[in-house]
């Protein structure tokens, strides 16, 4: 039992700054320290020896007094692994180099500061317990939601690695929006979308590892440590899947015609239908909303004519249960409905169409057989005006830019010029042309080679002068109003989240962002992950993007999903423990957890070990102190503060307690030291996992024990590594300040700064100001 304490002199360099003899003799005064040793290079040569000494000493915990733990801990961990010792949770580090030697005024101050830091660390070392690790493996199967270009790519990537994939699509065919595009950019070779896509659609459908679940919806998802139990609702097609061979006789005879949603209303389909000619699976579906049998109990012609007896009006919804280890959401997005903005005249004038409708018109297998004609009278339009940013970059609709529409408009304009009507006069009205990256070459081609006109301006209104003669009125950037005559107006509409996202997000337990797209873990480097481990997102359900970006994201999501399900994983269980006798079942902890890791049961809160990240916010809200994080118990923090203050009194030093988080603040304290930037040695850091773990009590206790001030150093508010911790701490500090004021103390004795790891200057300023004001130096 006891503590083994080791010091590192950094090759003797630190002896210039610190009196190691004094530090050693101080440590030895603590009865429970069973071994004290000095090394000169813990981070390199001495790590193995250190671990051996530690084993020999029989101590329970190890106190390492050296440089930044990010420099010296990796080699210690390695040495421990080699020697077969598990030190998880049993090591406490004191950084006497970057956080002390290199930033103090002189040797005496540095030594005394080091001593106080060691006092806090000793207190912690006494309480250390081994941290359990949990090894586990999740189910080797993946559910992919959405059968568009992203979902298909993710499915194929996983299936090719040998994993089982369930591909769920809510409509009767896979293919998604990209299957409706006439071509996709960049257009280097034959790239009509359906060819390129069709290939992959077929590949996905034929893959032995992919189970296609079309016309199905995800109804319920339950989380377990091994993965997810998923309930899927299979909607009735009223056509026997196995019997139907897709001959289409039923549709020929069906008397009901309804607008075809796949052709964006430009054509009609029957009540029994195949969404589009290349649909996969090639199986017909009855639309009960329009079928005469379902609406009027009449007809049943399809049943009579089907040569294979495949029609089954008695089909009922079915429920399918699946068990998977990971879920990839790839549900795509929708085109914005521009009739919400009356100035564009969409819905009022037949020849005002959207870019997606134009795609259908230009598609050889679309409603016009690929002939460029306008919807009102079937005449080929000679003057076409394309309007950009409809519903995008518009505070009235969507503030964001939809990213793909500039390129889509330019692509369709080029197609019209090169393959339909070289004489057509095409004008593109835009705010900024955003053909980023190499796509710029298409812009140059359109503008300089094909004579497509680009005009900067904003549409004020679209109206009809006389039937068939449209006029687009717009304002140029200088404020002048112009009019453009047009035979057809094409609106580049925003990419918007589907209405179904809200329900799906709820079922999955993930969040949507401020625009309603699925929210990523981090916009910069975590764009395919969500808050929930094992649930990934890709494609346009995460935000507007083009086909190639969707494909890249899908592959990335597949990679992470594959890793998630294929590896044995290990998680350090830095989680809360519960004292059932103290717990009052109030549920405050459950409400406070940023990860939803706690649920309230009869005996008290139950922790989901896999979800908990160990921030300790739950502990800080518990009114009975019944919940505590392993190795960061609330009481322990208080004891650490007390210990520092008692030693300080003995030394006759004044102290500002700096309560720092282990994330940004730790990096920051190391960075300041790296630059040898001096700040007052009165500032004594004590580290906690997240500022959210600190209750008001901790701060008041520090003042009570005699600290001149308390400085909280944590992550910037919007970038707390534990989501809400920094903000919670901020609110608590405000509250403390008002309490201090109320009882007649100086509220400025408590201060919080929210800084990232590089903000050296701000930290120096804050610490110097605080010492100046409270201690007067």
């Amino acid at each position: 039992m006891g503590i083994s304490a080791v010091l590192c002199t950094c090759g003797g360099v630190l002896e210039k700054y610190l009196d190691f003899d004094e530090l050693e003799s101080y440590i030895k005064r603590n009865k429970d320290v069973v071994m004290v040793r000095r090394y000169s290079a813990l981070c390199t040569q001495d790590s193995k020896e250190l671990i051996q000494d530690f084993i020999k000493s029989g101590a329970k915990a190890l106190l390492v007094i050296a440089c930044s733990k990010y420099i010296c801990s990796p080699s210690l961990e390695k040495a421990a692994e080699v020697l077969g010792v598990d030190l998880t949770g049993l090591v406490e580090f004191v950084n006497i180099r970057e956080q002390c030697a290199w930033i103090c005024e002189d040797r005496k101050n540095a030594t005394e500061k080091a001593l106080l830091m060691i006092a806090a660390a000793l207190e912690k070392a006494r309480a250390l317990e081994p941290v359990k690790k949990r090894k586990f493996k999740v189910k080797e199967a993946v559910l992919v939601i959405g059968g568009g270009v992203a979902g298909i790519q993710a499915s194929l990537d996983l299936a090719n690695q040998g994993f089982k994939v369930y591909l769920v699509e809510s409509s009767p065919s896979i293919g998604g929006t990209a299957a409706l595009l006439v071509r996709t950019f960049p257009m280097d070779d034959c790239d009509c979308a359906i060819c390129v896509k069709g290939f992959r659609m077929t590949e996905a459908a034929m893959h032995p590892n992919i189970e296609l679940l079309t016309y199905c919806e995800v109804k319920e998802v339950k989380r377990y440590p091994w993965g997810f139990k998923v309930k899927i609702l299979k909607k009735p097609r009223y056509v026997d899947y196995d019997k139907c061979i897709g001959c289409g006789i039923c549709a020929e005879k069906c008397p009901v015609e309804v607008p075809n949603e796949w052709d964006r209303g430009l054509s009609h389909r029957k009540a029994i239908y195949l969404p589009f000619p290349h649909a996969i699976p090639c199986k017909y579906t009855i639309d009960p909303e329009h079928c005469l049998y379902f609406t009027k109990k009449a007809c049943r012609v399809c049943e009579e004519v089907c040569p294979y007896n495949a029609i089954d009006f008695n089909q009922k919804p079915e429920e399918i249960e699946l068990e998977v280890g990971a879920i990839i959401v790839a549900t795509g997005s929708e085109e914005y409905d521009p009739s919400a903005l009356p100035k564009y005249g969409y819905g009022k004038y037949k020849d005002v169409i959207t870019q997606l409708q134009l795609e259908r018109i230009l598609d050889p297998s679309g409603p016009t057989g690929g002939r460029l004609i306008r919807p009102s009278d079937g005449k080929p339009p000679a003057r076409i005006v394309m309007v950009q940013c409809v519903g995008s970059r518009d505070p009235e609709a969507n503030p964001y830019c939809s990213r793909y529409c500039c390129m889509e408009a330019i692509k369709n304009a080029i197609l019209i010029k090169t393959e339909h009507n070289p004489e057509a006069k095409i004008t593109i009205l835009y705010k900024d042309i955003r053909t980023y990256g190499r796509l710029e070459e298409y812009y140059i081609q359109a503008k300089d080679e094909l004579g497509i006109e680009f005009v900067q301006g904003e549409v004020t209104k679209v109206y009809e002068e006389k039937p068939g003669y449209l006029v687009v009125e717009y304002q140029d950037p200088l404020g002048n109003v112009h009019s453009l005559p047009a035979d057809m107006v094409v609106l580049a509409c925003a990419m918007v989240p589907r209405k179904s996202f809200k329900d799906l997000a709820k079922v999955l337990g993930v969040e949507l962002d401020e625009y309603g797209f699925f929210k990523e873990l981090d916009r910069k480097v975590g764009s395919v992950e969500t808050k929930i481990p094992g649930i990934f997102i890709c494609g346009t359900c995460q935000g507007p993007k083009d086909v190639s970006e969707s494909i890249a994201q899908a592959s990335a999501a597949a990679m992470l999903a594959a890793l998630h399900i294929s590896q044995y994983r290990e998680k350090k269980l830095l989680i809360p423990t519960l004292d059932e006798d103290l717990c009052g079942r109030c549920g405050l902890c459950v409400l406070s957890c940023p990860y939803g890791a706690l649920t309230l049961e009869e005996k008290g809160p139950i922790v989901d070990e896999m979800l908990c990240q160990g921030c300790g916010i739950c502990a800080s809200v518990c009114p009975n102190n019944a919940i505590n994080i392993v190795n960061s118990a609330s009481e322990l923090i208080t004891r650490q503060i007390k210990s520092v203050m008692e030693e300080a009194k003995a030394l006759g030093r004044r102290v500002i307690i700096a309560l720092c988080c282990e994330e940004c603040a730790h990096t920051l304290m190391d960075t300041v030291g790296f630059y040898h930037e001096e700040y007052p040695s009165e500032v004594i850091p004590i580290f906690v996992p997240c500022l959210g773990i600190l209750s008001i009590g901790h701060i008041l206790m520090a003042l009570n024990y005699g600290a001149d001030g308390v400085l909280l150093v944590g992550c910037p508010l919007d970038r707390c590594h534990f989501e809400q911790g920094a903000e919670i701490a901020m609110r608590r500090v405000l509250l403390i300040k008002s309490i201090l004021e109320e009882i007649g103390l100086i509220p400025d004795r408590v201060r919080i700064v929210n800084l990232s790891g590089t903000m050296v200057e701000d930290f120096l300023k804050a610490s110097r100001e605080l010492v100046n004001k409270l201690i007067g130096r």
Binding site: L560, R569, S756
Partner: protein
């Protein structure tokens, strides 16, 4: 093969794409009359699942043993059809595709009759050729389950960690002394405004970590071996089995012994401009490349070191040796990932850059704005160290310029707006103007910068800058520009050029070593920008990140993960299957002249000790150049043997 030929001809109507031009009925009539054709059928979409079922059913029912498909380009569906006939019990190579869409119906849509005639010839050629085809098998080649990653920036690090986690051995080669790449220099990065060294890892550790801690994970990972200051010198072999020579440059400081105490730096007498801070600060000849350097050890800059030996004497660990020499290390890997990133365009001579010290680039501004940078976050005029009050940013410097680089560099708008916003927040009284062509903030993450900058009073001027000149008296900079046809002038005391991305200097050399193609703009070229944006022309070599074209961090990370997925799928099974539709040698005729060895673009032929040529199947790409050049007629390409090509020619000629 004893059985008689039974050729099946399957004609796809492709909706109206083929049938709208070619008279499909007449074509099938014609096909029926070609010798050995046992069955002819048409289908609306042969590539559909239903069509493939028909194909398979027909083959089985009618005992078809050779297949001709008249449809679209084999580039699209050859693989699909091969798989289908294999499922029907045939060897997948007993298939010939007549491309009657891209090579017939589409280009001849105005002459349907002639198109139908041409289709007949194409089908006839395919039938005659398919009659001569042979079964081709496949072999399994064991692969190395290790990966070489060139470039230790964010793309390389991401791919390395993921692949190592998957269980592969990773060799990470970085030419600089530290991992981290460009991102380390950026201060804060959009869209999250994190400090550039802050990066989250994935999956289980759900909270963010700094890049340097993250790079540290790379250093200690048991399956990642890091080579800093190193370059790839030579590569041979092929997918699954590459042999790579890595030249390990000397650091002159032993990574294992250095504890980063900094004593060496204190005693070093040489002071030089610090490239990490773009010359805004100085460093010694022995130095730590960045506060967040990984490995966190010192390194000697041999160009400036005077070999005085002061550091050697001062080092308490004897970690310094100024006699260290470069070392060549050989590793064997199954796949190679290129992640070498890009560089900032050097605008020397443009807009007064290089002439007036107060004309700087965005990267220099980023170093100034970095709170831990050389000015601790203060923006200063390099000429006099004073704070600027009128700042003009010029967009598209070196991008969207037909004379320099035609492409758009994608991220410079976001960088400029990010900086403009930071500046306005820090110095609310400063006047900031941005001269632009288009503001390109595509996607959901960035538009807020635009609106916010406008609210903060940043001026946006659409126009083109003609020149920047200094007023000899006031020393102020005059930015002359044209906006909406009008000449204008802006007075500035600091001009910031938003320079585009350019390929890194060594891209050319590396491309040569790896046998990769560069796009005309100098970035590494992909096979297909949309469907295969990370594949290269050489199997087993992949590219990701900015070395393939301008990209932001988010896209780079996504691509790095996608590459990792590709490599994992390729190597996970330990073997790859290679079909033998490759060149082969008839040893009876081979005279060992080695012409084939010389002409092969893929180094896929070698001369055996017995003096005859031998094809390395895993490397052969099946181009057939060797067969054409072989003077002895010993080299042939399977399914493109002379008699097979003649058969096709006879078919076209109707002979």
């Amino acid at each position: 093969m004893g059985e008689s030929l039974r050729i099946g001809v399957f004609i796809c109507r492709c909706g109206t794409d083929i049938a709208g031009v070619v008279d499909v009925k007449a074509l099938s009539e014609y096909a029926r009359k070609i010798p050995n054709v046992a069955y002819v059928t048409e289908h609306e979409f042969l590539c559909s699942r239903e069509g493939l079922e028909v194909l398979k059913r027909t083959i089985r029912r009618y005992g078809i043993n050779r297949v001709v498909i008249a449809a679209c380009s084999p580039k699209l569906h050859e693989l699909t059809f091969r798989r289908a006939i294999q499922e029907a019990g045939l060897n997948p190579f007993l298939l010939e595709i007549a491309n009657i869409r891209e090579q017939c119906a589409w280009p001849h849509s105005h002459e349907p009759e002639k198109a139908t005639e041409k289709a007949k010839y194409l089908v006839r050629a395919a039938v005659l050729k398919v009659a001569t085809l042979e079964e081709i098998g496949e072999i399994s080649v064991p692969v190395k389950t290790s990966v070489l990653i060139i470039g230790g920036g964010i793309a390389g690090i991401t791919a390395a960690l993921k692949l190592a986690e998957y269980g592969f051995q990773v060799y990470l080669v970085e030419k600089n002394a530290t991992l981290g790449g460009r991102v380390l220099q950026l201060g804060t990065v959009f869209p999250t405004e994190d400090c550039g060294v802050c990066m989250p890892p994935y999956v289980l550790e759900r909270h963010r970590k700094c890049l340097y801690k993250y790079a540290q994970m790379v250093m200690v990972h048991p399956r990642i071996k890091v080579f800093t200051r190193s370059t790839v010198e030579h590569v041979e072999g092929h997918v699954g089995n590459f042999k790579v020579t890595i030249r390990r440059g000397p650091r002159y400081v032993d990574e294992k012994d250095c504890v980063a105490c900094g004593v060496c730096e204190e005693v070093c007498p040489v002071e030089v401009p610090n490239e990490f801070d773009l010359g805004l600060s100085t460093r010694k000849a022995i130095y730590m490349p960045s506060p967040y350097a990984v490995p966190h050890t010192y390194v000697v800059d041999e160009d400036h070191c005077t070999r005085c030996g002061a550091c050697v004497k001062a080092c308490p660990f004897n970690a310094i040796s100024l006699n260290e020499k470069p070392q060549d290390v050989e590793v064997e890997v199954g796949a190679i990932i290129v992640a070498t990133g890009a560089e900032e365009f050097n605008p020397k001579g443009m807009y007064g850059y290089g002439t007036y010290p107060d004309v700087i680039t965005q990267l220099t501004l980023a170093r100034m704005l970095d709170p831990s940078g050389p000015t601790k976050g203060e923006v200063i005029r390099p000429s006099d160290g004073r704070r600027p009050s009128r700042i003009v940013m010029i967009q598209c410097v070196g991008s969207r310029d037909p004379k320099i680089n035609p492409y758009c560099s994608k991220v410079c708008c976001a960088i400029a707006l990010k900086h403009a916003r930071s500046l306005k927040k820090r110095y609310p009284e400063a006047e900031i103007a941005i001269v632009y062509k288009d503001i390109r903030l595509a996607g959901k993450d960035y538009e807020q910068y635009y609106t916010e900058c406008e609210e903060l009073g940043v001026k946006f001027i659409k126009g083109e800058v003609l020149d920047v000149v200094q007023d000899p008296e006031t020393k102020m900079l005059r930015v002359e520009l044209e906006s909406y046809g009008e000449r204008k002038e802006l007075i500035a005391d600091l001009v910031v050029l938003s320079c585009g991305f350019v390929p890194s200097e060594d891209a050319k050399k590396l491309a040569e070593i790896l046998g990769l193609n560069l796009a005309p703009d100098g970035f590494f070229m992909t096979v297909h920008p949309k469907l295969a944006p990370i594949d290269t022309n050489t199997d087993g070599i992949f590219i990701c990140g900015a070395c393939q074209g301008p990209k932001d961090i988010s896209e780079t990370v996504t691509q790095a993960l996608a590459v990792a997925a590709k490599v994992a799928a390729l190597l996970a099974k330990g073997v790859i299957k290679i079909d033998l539709a490759k060149a082969f040698v008839d040893e009876n005729y081979c005279i060992g002249c080695a012409t084939c060895v010389m002409v092969c673009p893929y180094d896929a032929v070698e001369i055996t000790p017995r003096g005859v040529a031998q094809v390395i199947e895993a490397a052969c790409q099946g181009c057939g150049i060797c067969a054409a050049e072989c003077p002895a007629g010993a080299m042939q390409l399977r399914n493109y043997k002379d008699d097979q090509i003649y058969a096709a020619i006879r078919g076209v000629l109707g002979a």
